[in-house]
């Protein structure tokens, strides 16, 4: 049976990722890209999905940890008479080593070492490409290892020093000091590269660990809980598709948001809704290269759909495929249907315009001047807001069906126009920009939100105009500079959100509605609350206390899913979720800033723009 969601660790190479269970089974792997069909998908169907298991053949206890500040995963097994370590990673190397060493196009390396005693080890190599729809034949080429042709022209290769034949199953006896190495490769462009097992795997491990450690060391964060912040940064880096700069929301599809339920979606795409938050997180940690790469991808991707913005894009900035159901897969824990593609592709989400403009403003704050075409594109987004801000949309939570007038969407439209006005005033936009239109529409949005988006009865901003519900996304209003966190209206909103959406342990639901019944608390919303407090909605101590209680909801490896079960504190939904970790980083940055400035002096959000010289 596949493991629980929280019992998985992740390894990756900024192109693809694999989930490895605490039981030593690689139950999810998509090659060549994050959004490619799976090679192993036991996490979605234990029987048909396929897996690559390396574990003791006798009962064992196990735990997982990282190899320091790297994306190398170590699983420790303890049996009655032996202990073993399984080290999993996808090789990455720096530019100099790239010139010296030829690596497979894609590779997963597994090293099993017996540390003590003697034990029989079970190996199951059962690839089921194309989401388990193919059951290919394993071929042996002797010293060239095992090979599995994959429909579509790819080739899966496995070289190992274990006695593994075409059945893909073996039992091997290991004594203290002995080890087994596995190099699972995938080639879909050129002739495969077949790395020999043995000491080469250890050399690649050292090079990979060095690269990750060097990257982690560049994280400019000296505040509290550095380990958790660096882990979140390492995850973001792992999920950033290196060839384009896109960051996938999560590397998985259809891990259920409701146990056994039908809220199962494909998250292997990049959403614009968190663009500004992601950009700020990367810039805030000093990972300027990654932040700029992401923002350039963002602006390039959105160019393809101008003047309209899509809700989400694939790794290359295209519209994702249509949503389809895979009826042959039983789903994680029986949660059907398993979906690929995403139906939100055709939705209208007005907040995305504000997100993209705000992300671009982050780049400007770092001293970059937008070129003429970027400036014109930003003006185009502004005009799109001016034309359409009053229309209903699907909102940040992509509610399916007829749209609604979401207050959060309105405020993001306000934020987009406000930022354009600031960019204009600081001379980053041409004088021909229709600034009077932006000012007029910004003020109209503000007036509407303050009159229809605030309930005197609730003493709170509301989820929709004229509505009587609240939404955790309202906590972002101060973040975008719409109002101050300690303003009476925001403090009232915070009280109402706590009252209606609080789930205990510092957790928040995103909103209460028919579709959210049975789902967990939302990870990123809970971190928004900690950040709201740090921005002045509460005291520094309150913010720290909430942040720390959220840190206790992470898995043993410091990972978060999209949601958290408020009772068991286990992750729910696609895993691990980049945006929850973005929330963690931003909350930590705001906490650090609050502590630096002193408890009474809160940070100005967003930071001011410098005038162009």
């Amino acid at each position: 049976m596949s493991a629980e969601i929280g019992d998985y660790g992740i390894v990756g190479d900024c192109r693809s990722a694999a989930l490895i269970s605490r039981g030593g089974s690689c139950d999810w792997l998509c090659w060549p890209r994050f959004d490619s069909p799976s090679i192993f998908a036991a996490i979605l169907d234990d029987e048909k999905g396929g897996r690559f298991l390396v574990a003791p053949a006798v009962p064992f206890h196990s735990s997982q940890e990282w190899l320091g500040e790297t994306n190398v995963l170590v699983t420790r097994f303890t049996t009655a008479g032996a202990s073993l370590t399984l080290t999993d990673f996808m090789p990455v190397q720096d530019d100099e080593d790239t010139r010296r060493f030829l690596l497979p196009e894609h590779e997963l390396v597994r090293v099993l070492r017996c540390e003590r005693g003697e034990v029989e080890v079970e190996i199951v190599f059962d690839p089921r490409p194309d989401y388990g729809r193919a059951r290919p034949r394993i071929e042996s080429l002797g010293k060239l290892g095992l090979r599995v042709p994959v429909r579509g022209g790819g080739l899966l290769t496995l070289l190992t020093d274990a006695a593994l034949g075409v059945s893909g199953r073996a039992r091997v006896r290991l004594r203290a000091g002995e080890r087994l190495t596995f190099s699972l490769g995938f080639a879909d462009e050129d002739a495969a590269v077949l790395p020999p097992p043995g000491s080469r795997c250890i050399e690649v491990l050292e090079r990979t660990a060095t690269v990750w450690r060097a990257w982690a060391a560049r994280t400019l964060y000296d505040g509290p809980h550095r380990a958790e912040v660096v882990r979140s940064a390492l995850l973001l880096k792992l999920l950033q598709y290196a060839p384009s700069g896109a960051i996938v929301a999560a590397p998985t599809t259809s891990l259920p948001e409701r146990p056994g339920g039908e809220l199962n979606w494909d998250y292997r795409f990049c959403w614009l809704r968190d663009a500004a938050l992601t950009s700020r997180a990367l810039f805030g940690l000093g990972h300027v290269e990654e932040a700029e790469h992401f923002t350039i991808w963002l602006l390039t991707a959105t160019t393809l759909s101008l003047p309209r913005l899509n809700v989400l894009y694939d790794l290359f900035g295209r519209k994702p495929g249509f949503e389809r159901v895979l009826p042959h897969l039983s789903g994680h824990g029986g949660a059907r249907p398993v979906r690929i593609g995403n139906g939100a592709r055709d939705q209208v989400q007005l907040d995305t315009y504000g997100e993209v403009i705000e992300a671009a403003a982050h780049v400007v704050r770092r001293g970059r001047t937008p070129d003429r075409s970027t400036a014109e594109m930003l003006i185009g987004f502004g005009l799109q807001i001016a034309r359409g801000w009053h229309l209903p949309d699907a909102g940040i939570w992509e509610v399916r069906g007829a749209g609604s007038n979401f207050v959060h969407s309105r405020v993001l439209c306000w934020a987009g126009l406000q930022r354009l006005i600031e960019l204009y005033e600081k001379r980053y936009l041409p004088r021909s920009a229709p600034i009077d239109v932006f000012v007029r529409e910004r003020d109209r949005i503000h007036q509407q939100v303050e009159t229809l988006g605030f309930s005197a009865l609730l003493q709170s901003y509301t989820r929709t105009l004229g509505g009587a519900d609240v939404d955790a996304s309202l906590l972002l209003l101060p973040w975008y500079g719409y109002c101050k966190a300690d303003s009476p209206r925001m403090l009232g909103t915070w009280r109402r959100i706590q009252e209606r959406l609080g789930a205990g342990n510092g957790l928040l639901h995103r909103y209460i509605g028919p579709l959210t019944e049975g789902e967990g608390a939302f990870g990123i919303c809970s971190f928004w609350a900690a950040e709201f407090l740090a921005l002045g909605g509460g005291s520094l101590e309150e913010a720290e206390e909430r942040f720390e209680s959220l840190l206790r909801c992470a898995t043993g490896l410091g990972l978060y899913g999209e949601e958290i079960d408020p009772v068991t504190l286990k992750p729910m939904g696609n895993f691990p979720q980049a945006y929850t970790h973005v929330g963690l980083i931003n909350a930590a940055l705001s906490l650090r800033e609050r502590a630096r400035r002193g408890a009474g002096d809160t940070e100005r959000r967003p930071p001011p723009l410098e005038a162009r010289e």
């Binding site: 010139r99 010296r100 030829l102 022209g153």
Partner: protein, 158 residues
Amino acid sequence: MNWPLCLLAGFAGTLVLTTLEAGAQQLHMTRMSIPFLLGTMLTPDRDRAKLYGLLAHLVNGQVFALFYVALFHATGGGGVVRGARVGLLHAAVLLLVVVPILPSIHPRMASLHQGPVGTRLIEPPGPLALHYGFTTPLMVVVSHAIFGAVVGGLFPFS
């Protein structure tokens, strides 16, 4: 001999051949990339190898075009059909003679007998280069026939 035309024929033929091969590769019909195989003789850097390999491939095309033209001169003329036939012969020599000995001459290619050792890590092509995909021999035959047809077409007369 009309040297400029000879060079143009070699360049045009190689360009068509390379485009066909790259297209087949991107359509996942084959994993055989001549630029990759040639370039990795010079460097283990995958990206540079493809660039160096492409340049070497273009030079090779010119050299082979000279052989083709020499053959046309010796046998009384070129033409599309005759060129395609020479291309077929070229493909046969490649698949039946060169491919089997490639592991012996490529410094970074593994062999079936020794497996991957040291820096010899690249998958060998196997009989008729079938290890690089079932349609690889077909692609080699078609692309070389077209190479010959282009060169022959530009040299219809001796």
